[in-house]
């Protein structure tokens, strides 16, 4: 997360609210001889292009004891190659009026530049160069390790809610590496070395383990030519299979409590282990997207009940992300209003969920959600950056482009019975982790 991953998740989450008529983004896809998959989304509204390379490797692929190395390497990818000085990559992009960044998830690591269409050649040349020719020395690695430690303090240690989320996540996954924080545990981050970074890079960074996505004012033929020129010469190499230990069947509800004297606003949340589009009972993934829409949002069940009608909470919502190589989670949350106990909010939430499981969702609710999600596919085409991010995240979790483009139809086919059945399968106490963010009285 050179500049954090959180935004990306939010965008993809919204797309879960995103897709319409027959097709969504109409991408073109082809594969180079060295195994690099290339996806092109033409969009001629502005003379700019977004150029992204996504590697099929992330924090959940890290060896034990090396948490944070995927993200650390993401930072180190800006430290130069045989022909570029440290920092020269970003300097060159800026000098050409472009912006660049990078991001790391449990399942992938990505690099992005947005530039004028006539600078595509330039960024492709540099990105292809660092796919194989990274040069690292302790002189650049050690200060950058301090940077990621500062990043951890800024985004986790200084933020009580983020510390709780990290602990809840660790409690959710008993055996799968999704339980480790993407940024890493501090004690392990401190021990990461140049050799660890190089080993990681040599193992996983290869054209045959990557997807190139170019979106914007460019044609598929132009991209084909440029990709062949710049990425074509990068040699393929064997990439190991991912080691992803599976979760055992969950047996017990877990409760995680974090007390901090800086907390002024207590909050309650619960996550349930859930299937994704790639793992578990995958048929439930689309119904769960519809369910998240029915429960969440300002006109959703939870806000209406807890915030508007019963006046117990200042906010309430639900979220589900179907993009994951392995299992995912379905979350619900609420923030009690002053004077209301967290127990009262929890009780109200459980009553809502109990009623949902008992009575099921109504046909009319599902129809409204499907309409909203359908409209979202049109809206998703508005911002130029949405398509490459959504496509990248989907491909990284193993979804095909055809399946992604079929999203509007899949959502249109979801029935109320399927939504109810998915809710009954997932909202099982034993699959859950409940988090309490509480105020500790000052000592």
């Amino acid at each position: 997360m050179r500049i954090l991953l959180i935004g990306l998740i939010a965008i993809i989450g919204t797309f879960g609210a995103a897709a319409g008529r027959a097709q969504v983004f109409n991408p073109t896809s082809f594969t180079l001889a060295n195994g690099l998959q290339v996806v092109v989304v033409e969009n001629h509204r502005a003379p700019i292009v977004s150029h992204m390379v996504w590697y099929r490797v992330g924090a959940a692929d890290e060896p034990p004891g090396k948490s944070g190395i995927a993200h650390f390497l993401e930072h180190l990818m800006f430290k130069g190659t045989q022909i570029l000085q440290p920092g020269e990559f970003s300097r060159t992009v800026a000098r050409n009026g472009g912006r660049d960044n990078a991001f790391t998830s449990w399942d992938y690591t990505g690099y992005v530049q947005t530039v004028a269409r006539d600078r595509l050649d330039l960024v492709m040349r540099m990105e292809a160069d660092r796919m194989a020719n990274l040069v690292l020395t302790d002189a650049v690695v050690l200060p950058e390790r301090d940077v990621i430690l500062e990043e951890r303090r800024q985004v986790v240690d200084n933020v009580p809610g983020a510390r709780l989320r990290e602990q809840m996540n660790a409690a959710m996954f008993l055996n799968h590496p999704y339980g480790r924080p993407i940024i890493g545990w501090e004690h392990e981050m401190r021990g990461l070395t140049r050799d660890d970074a190089i080993a990681w890079y040599r193992t996983w960074y290869a054209p045959n383990n990557a997807v190139l996505i170019v979106a914007g004012d460019v044609t598929a033929d132009e991209v084909r030519g440029l990709a062949q020129t710049h990425y074509g010469p990068v040699a393929a190499k064997p990439v190991p299979a991912r080691m992803r230990p599976a979760e055992p069947p969950p047996q017990a509800a877990r409760r995680v409590v974090l007390k901090d004297e800086r907390v002024r606003q207590q909050s309650w949340s619960r996550s349930y282990l859930a299937p994704s589009l790639a793992r578990g009972d995958r048929a439930q993934a689309y119904p769960l997207q519809v369910l998240a829409d029915i429960l969440g949002g300002q006109s959703g069940r939870l806000y209406r009940s807890l915030v508007v009608e019963r006046q117990l909470a200042t906010s309430a919502g639900a979220a589900y992300d179907s993009d994951a190589v392995d299992l995912s989670s379905f979350a619900v949350w609420a923030t009690p209003r002053p004077g209301v106990t967290i127990e009262a909010v929890e009780r109200a939430m459980e009553e809502e969920l109990t009623a949902l499981l008992r009575d099921g969702v109504q046909v009319e609710e599902v129809e409204r959600a499907r309409t909203r999600l359908g409209a979202a596919s049109v809206l998703a085409r508005d911002a130029l950056g949405t398509a490459p991010r959504v496509i990248g995240a989907a491909l990284m979790s193993g979804m095909s482009i055809d399946e992604l483009e079929a999203w509007p139809r899949r959502i249109a086919d979801v029935t109320a019975d399927q939504v109810t059945a998915a809710a009954r399968a997932v909202f099982d106490e034993a699959r859950s982790v409940t988090g309490y963010l509480l105020q500790k009285p000052p000592s």
């Binding site: 502005a46 700019i48 800026a94 200084n158 002024r264 606003q265 006109s299």
Partner: protein, 443 residues
Amino acid sequence: MMRRLAAFLVLLGVWCASAGPALAIDIERVVSPGGIEAWLVRDPTLPLLTMEMRFRGGAASEPADRVGIAQLATDMLREGAGDLDSSAFARALDDRSISLGFGASSDSMSVGLRVLNEHREFGIGLLVAALTRPRFDPQTVERVRTRLLAGYAREAEEPRAQVRRAFQAAAFPNHPYGRSLEAAIAGTRAATIDEMRALLTARMARDNLIVGVVGDITAQELGPLLDRALGALPAKSRPVEVAEIRAEISAERMIVIKRRLPQSVQIFGAPGLKRDDPDWFAAQLVNYVLGGGGFSSRLMTEVREKRGLTYGVSTGLSALDFGAVLVGSSSTENSRAALSLDVIRGEWRRMADEGPTADELEGAKAFLTGSFPLGLDSSASVARLLVAIQYDHLGFDYLSRRDQLIRSVTLDDARRVARRLYGGRGFLTVIVGEPEGLESSGG
């Protein structure tokens, strides 16, 4: 169709101006039969209408004992209007995927609407109802008031918000820009429904209204639509009476707020300059070199890349209508916070003494001209630009002049402005945390 790409001809124009021959920019000025003006960029590529509206005069005009009332009043506009109570209003928006939002900042109030073509008239109807027949149901007012108060409570312990508030209070003493969180809490508690209604009537009128529109609509269609949407607003607003203030930062001053945090969060700065200052672009260029330039700025290079002292450090010009500051922020673990600030202070002085190099200035010009279109990547961002150009009185032809304004800044200009901005005696730092070796001083 000839104008298939009309919407983003704005971008094209700007871009080509920086990369070669300038093109005409396709903004249309539309005046409704009733006399309401809007700037339109037509974009038939998506079946969508995006309207951004802004009214001059915001929270800074609030009475001292009603701080926060503007936020509360504008939040209420989304909570029910005409025959629709809060829940029915939210559902009317959600079911048609209409986004309608209201906000208040220091100097203005804003309204944003995005609606699919098929629901355009319905969306306009909801906008009209919200602006002219808001309900202010007492129970709903209390719910929204509670939500805002909970937000202020959270802000009280959020380190970034804490230092920002303290900085503003020190820079703008006895001025609305420097009002405290306590004042906002008290004012939000005290505001009555009658006062909120009176405020909206006084502040949202046709004579202080600015409109930007992007979408699948012709100028002929937009004229009457403007009258339907906004014609019922009062003709005249109450004059905005806010005192001009020069930021009172005239000496070295440090404010340390002791909190138990692993990482100190700091904000620092000096008096700035306003948007209508003739040195505006020279200041933007110099700021880009020091701390505005993403990964390539002097501060990022010295503080982050070389020394690993922070995850991020940046500076920017914060220009309000009645006062301005030049302000930067970063965060560093407590034991190294003083060192980090030393490096920042040293670079600040060096910029005052030496200014940017010729090469740095060229790089800044290349970025500020070239990257401009990259931010205009959605209908809403283009609509907001149309509003901003009008709000700041930059002129109908501003986009065709912008590149030249930036290019014409000379190295002498840049050095002079660097001395002006960074060479004063005033430097204010506010830190929250447990920074080792730092205590409040000066002031």
